[in-house]
Amino acid sequence: MKQTLVTGNEAAAWGARLARPDYIPTFPITPQTECIETLAQWGADGELPDTYFDKMESEHSVMSAAVGAAAVGARVFTATSSQGLLLMHEVLYIASGMRLPIVMATVSRGLSAPVTLWSDHNDFLDQRDSGWLMFHAENNQEVLDTVIQAYRIAEDPRVLLPVMVNMDGYVLSFTDEPINIPSPEMVDEFLPAYAPAHTIEKGRPITVGPPVLEDYSIFRAQNHVAARNAFEVIEETQDDFEKIFGRRYHMVDEFMLDDAELVLVTQGSMSTTAKAAIMEMRSEGIKVGLLRLRVIRPWPAGAIVRALKDAKAVAVIDRNLAPGKGGIMFPEVVETLYHLDDRPLVSSFVVGLGGNPQTEVKIKEITSKLKEDLVSGQPRVEWNDIEEM
């Protein structure tokens, strides 16, 4: 298959184009804008005959329009980032509560104030309780592939939940990478047209989004069940995807874990840097490996336990910060391992806020510190980027 150089934004746009959505509501925000501009141009060029490309006056309206279109049975795509994702926040809960299989690419960028255009994961992780399924891609190929997979997962009757596919701003969104763009025929084979069981249509009136009284908790519980049903559906989807496209993805991405004593837990594009550092450290005889969190919701506790249970020490590297608490994913990983009889030591590192680069040198430093922690038996909590303050 031919390889093409595309940015992360273009990869997301390609994923959307191949999924042939009925409706794409949009609003620009750096560093996502190129994604919707690409789709707008394709629309103007007649390359999206099955799609209505719409422009809205805010991200709040983007998600509201997405809800309106999905509620009448349309397949919907959109993209956003940072402040825009936060402006959508209210409607994200409504989309998942209404069980609407919207797919959205998110491009991570640090949150104001002060303003940064560069990437960290606070915007994405702020949505972790919104009821959306959440994927975080490592590279542009994975962005495209996951957008296509996301529709299969979202529209499965066992799931019926919206899906977010995240990539890191700049590092992926604006960086060309060589990727395979699948043929439309292959994607059509993998992804059938959306045929919703319950939707607003002529001759069959339904009510969407009414108030409830004591049944509220039942609806919330159904959301939880649906999100947990996604485990099975994600696995099946990966099987079918591999059969057609020859690429395999997992709930978590395991790298050199077989005999690893030290394990770095990462998210997003810094995983690629960390993998390069790990290969160098391996050549120096350090038994280090990596676990990349690919699916954030539903939380793949089983896969994480299987991957980390034999490690001696784990460093959770958070590219985010909950002020007054610490890294966001650190406690999630710790609670996942807590019930193991022989659980590894877990240290926390908060790094790379607002796009501070994650170099191989930094990854090696973290690994050395983790090794020290293993010797001392004392896990650490460290804000790597700001410790000198």
Binding site: D54, S64, G68, G73, V76, E201, T207, G209, P210
Partner: protein, 301 residues
């Protein structure tokens, strides 16, 4: 679709049936019931959070048409998405009709409304204007008229007037969007429904604002809802007019307006308004009415 000649001409079929949780004497629910007679069964109502959100209460609904409630500030955008979704799926003859209060329209949902109108989305946007945040118990919105007491503009020693701001001229703003904009009243149902017919036939975006006469918030006897609605028109508090492509048509002209006193004295929300406040309210109404008379049949915005 033909315009209606008189009340006998209205369809008997109702798509808003019994069992709603609306207050006795609720204007907006009667207005929706009327609107659905004109719009028919192939209608999706897009509701913004407010009193009417409580019409369906899971697992019951008094409605025989489809209904979606998203949030308070996004009915126009939700409707735009639904419109395009339906169009793309070949359901072009479904009506998409917003039914939203004034808070959701004038205030928090104004940006989304303005964008949908600018894009001339094929939506009929009905604002039922009860001149307040009614469902939360009658607080001030930018549609609240001068001199009206609300829970967030209470009268007191330092402020005997209550609402000292003059409400937003929404019709002018919507008229400036180059769409069809019209006011309507529960007391003039044929006029209201014909405006819906015109909106539908015209295609594109239409804005119809109906006085959402609210006996609990305005504090009057629920038997008087239609009378209060009629008085509002006769006093010039709620003139009936339409703006199409910038041109103004006054639909209900009067040689002389009834004094605003008649409207004010039967409602608790104005009861303690001092005479100077009543006079200022009358002056504001006179000014607006004179403007409408002056521009009737001419370019207004």
């Amino acid at each position: 679709m033909q315009e209606f000649k008189n009340l006998k001409d209205l369809p008997e079929q109702d798509y808003f049936t019994g069992g709603s949780s609306a207050c006795a004497g609720c204007g907006p629910s009667m207005e929706l019931k009327l609107a659905l007679k004109a719009l028919g069964p192939d209608t999706l109502v897009v509701n913004a959070s407010g009193c009417m959100t409580l019409l369906p209460l899971y697992p019951n609904t008094p409605l025989k048409v489809s209904w979606i409630h998203n949030a308070i500030e996004n009915a126009a955008s939700t409707a735009a998405g639904a419109r395009h979704g339906l169009d793309m799926l070949g359901e072009k003859d479904m009506n998409v009709v917003v039914f939203a209060g004034d808070g959701a329209t004038y205030d928090i949902g104004f940006a989304s409304l303005s964008a949908a109108a600018t894009k001339n989305e094929r939506i009929i946007y009905i604002c039922y204007n009860n001149q307040s945040y009614g469902n939360t118990g009658f607080q001030w919105s930018t549609a609240t008229p001068y001199g009206c007491e609300t829970k967030t503009t209470p009268r007191g020693k330092d402020n005997p007037i209550g609402t000292t701001d003059v409400h937003k001229d929404m019709m002018k703003i919507m008229g400036a969007h180059r769409v069809y904009a019209a006011t309507a009243s529960l007391a003039y149902p044929v006029d209201f429904l014909n405006k819906l017919v015109r909106a539908k036939e015209r295609g594109g975006f239409s804005y119809i604002e109906i006085l959402g006469t609210c006996n609990t918030g305005w504090n009057f006897d629920p038997r008087l809802t239609v009378k209060v609605s009629r008085l509002a028109v006769q006093c010039g508090m709620w003139p009936l007019y339409e703006i199409d492509k910038g041109l103004l048509t006054l639909n209900k002209d009067f040689q002389e307006l009834k004094p605003i006193d008649e409207f004010v004295k039967i409602q608790g929300r104005y009861r303690a308004l001092p005479q100077e406040g009543v006079e200022k309210l009358q002056a504001l109404i006179n000014e607006h009415w004179a403007q409408l008379k002056e521009y009737n049949g001419q370019r207004y915005v």
